[in-house]
Amino acid sequence: MTSASLPKAAPASGRDEAPPLSVRLAARGLDGTTLLVLPAFLAILGLFVYPFAYGLVLSVQPKAGAWWANYARFFADPFLSDTIAATLRLALPVTVLNLVLAVPIALRVRLMRHQRLLTTILVLPITLGTVLVAEGLLNFLGPQGWFNRVLVWLGVIGSPLKLTNNYGGVFASLLITGFPFAFLLTLSSVTGIDPALEQAAAAHGANAWQRFTRVILPLILPGLAVTFCLSFVQAFSVFPSAVLLGAPAGATRVISIAAYQAAFEDYDYSLASAIAMIMGAVQLAIVAAVLWGRSLLYTGPVGGTKG
């Protein structure tokens, strides 16, 4: 209150008495109800923020050497530092492919009246999780699996391809869990677009491609940027399928495997924390870059201008 500094004569009546503290706090939004946020907030502080901070501190307290020794070791040792490239080689192409598939399909499906069967089928791999998908693909993509059998039977290939325990296997698993994820996110953002906008574009002479590039794409691009970030972060943290379906000592030695081995095989929690921090930093860098690009785009309502 700005007038508090002005000394005034004692109030003649009770009118000008200062309101009780509880009233003043309530005016700023702090009352008993606000305190209900505390238990959950403290739980997340204790179980998420504190461990992160603890990990950060631990990562600069290496078993030997200066405070940056873990980070120096990570980047000096190709066995460790190459995991970043190996992970990006998997995560970037598969995320781009997932989005490239998700957009046209979501644009079609949004016009369907009975979407539920399709969305229910697609939600299966997400709910079942990567471990089950890995086990299923080991069988399905294996040399005797149905996938190879069908291709051989169709005459596309002469002999079964090796599709598991290598890069391709992990890629397939990221596709089968990542595509539905990207698709459902895209679908929920494209269903918000007013169909009248596309009709208006058509009425003004835009063909299908022009309607997509000039009207639809600019409207969904901010949502796509967020979808890209979420999909990428998921793909970048690939773990069980990289072990089970990939070559964990070779082409699919991803960064989470390095972190896991440091912690649970070498018991070097300090190095493991450093790797986890590097993993978080790379994700953050890519997400920040995409979101910075997004901030240059139109991000207003997509439902038309009315209301």
Partner: protein
């Protein structure tokens, strides 16, 4: 909508549906292969197994101590649902109804665990829990699983609570309801559908949560999905059919709850937030 009739756009439409169909077909075939193999006597180098049996289920039950694992899974899931429901709903109520300094920061703290993948924060979290002597215990697994569950409940419930007119609560107060009666007679009945949906989704997600449980669990606190991972990891030690039988048990447990959840929520809500749905 606009129906283009040119050959190019027809071709494009067909291509889009063909890709969708192909994806679904491969997905369903992959699941079918797991189910079929779990009932197979022998399946090598043929389109279909030579014969069918249910003995792998009994074998799997004994080999992997599925009874114990299921009990642990249910305990973990029940506790996570209970605690994240209590903390998440109350926090969502405060965030939906009050504006206070620092609210954006609080929201960010709730958003981050959903954006950062579990393996990234799981390793420091596991380290802390090991130091605290909680890793390897049931409670350690529960605590770890609360990290994504509480924010999930908060973010699902906020838009749900926001769409309830606060004047209804004001009316209850004016007509004489104290805090307890307001909660029991007015708020709870109105919130039940939202709470049910949020908790069912937490339930499904916790059953399938591999990374956090894997990093924190000990031999006696493994959930089904972690046990499945170890079984697949050590494939070759056991018969493949036995592992697939366990995978089918896991699928059944997950899908039962998924089917129940889908009675209350839209499949898109499992990945996207309810708010985006409401906007359309």
């Amino acid at each position: 909508m606009i129906r283009d009739t040119g050959p190019g756009s027809r071709l494009w439409r067909m291509a889009v549906w063909a890709v969708t169909l192909l994806f679904c077909l491969n997905l369903l075939a992959m699941i079918a292969a797991v189910v079929l193999n779990s009932f197979a006597t022998r399946w090598l180098g043929t389109w279909l197994p030579l014969g069918f049996t249910t003995r792998w289920y009994a074998a799997s039950w004994d080999e992997f101590q599925l009874g114990d694992v299921l009990v642990v899974t249910l305990q973990v899931v029940f506790l996570v649902v209970l605690v994240s429901g209590l903390l998440g709903v109350t926090a969502a109520y405060a965030l939906a109804r009050r504006d206070f300094p620092g609210k954006r920061l609080v929201m960010l703290v709730f958003l981050l665990p959903l954006l950062v993948p579990p393996i990234t924060y799981g390793i420091p979290l596991a380290t802390v829990l090991y130091r605290a002597g909680l890793a390897g215990t049931l409670w350690g697994v529960v605590l770890a699983n609360l990290v994504p569950s509480i924010p999930f409940v908060v973010l699902v419930m906020i838009p749900f609570i926001e769409q309830i007119d606060p004047r209804i609560e004001a009316a209850a107060r004016v007509f004489g309801a104290g805090t307890g009666q307001l909660f029991l007679r007015v708020l709870l009945p109105l919130l039940i559908p939202g709470i049910l949906a949020a908790l069912l989704l937490v339930l499904v997600r916790t059953i399938a949560m591999f990374e956090l449980t894997f990093l924190v669990a000990g031999p006696t606190s493994q959930t089904l999905v972690v046990a499945l991972y170890y079984a697949v990891f050590a494939a070759g030690v056991r018969a493949g059919q036995s592992i697939d039988a366990m995978a089918v048990v896991y699928m059944a447990v997950t899908l039962v709850w998924l089917v129940i959840a889908l009675r209350f929520v839209n499949p898109t809500q499992i990945v996207a937030r309810a708010k985006q749905q409401g906007a359309s």
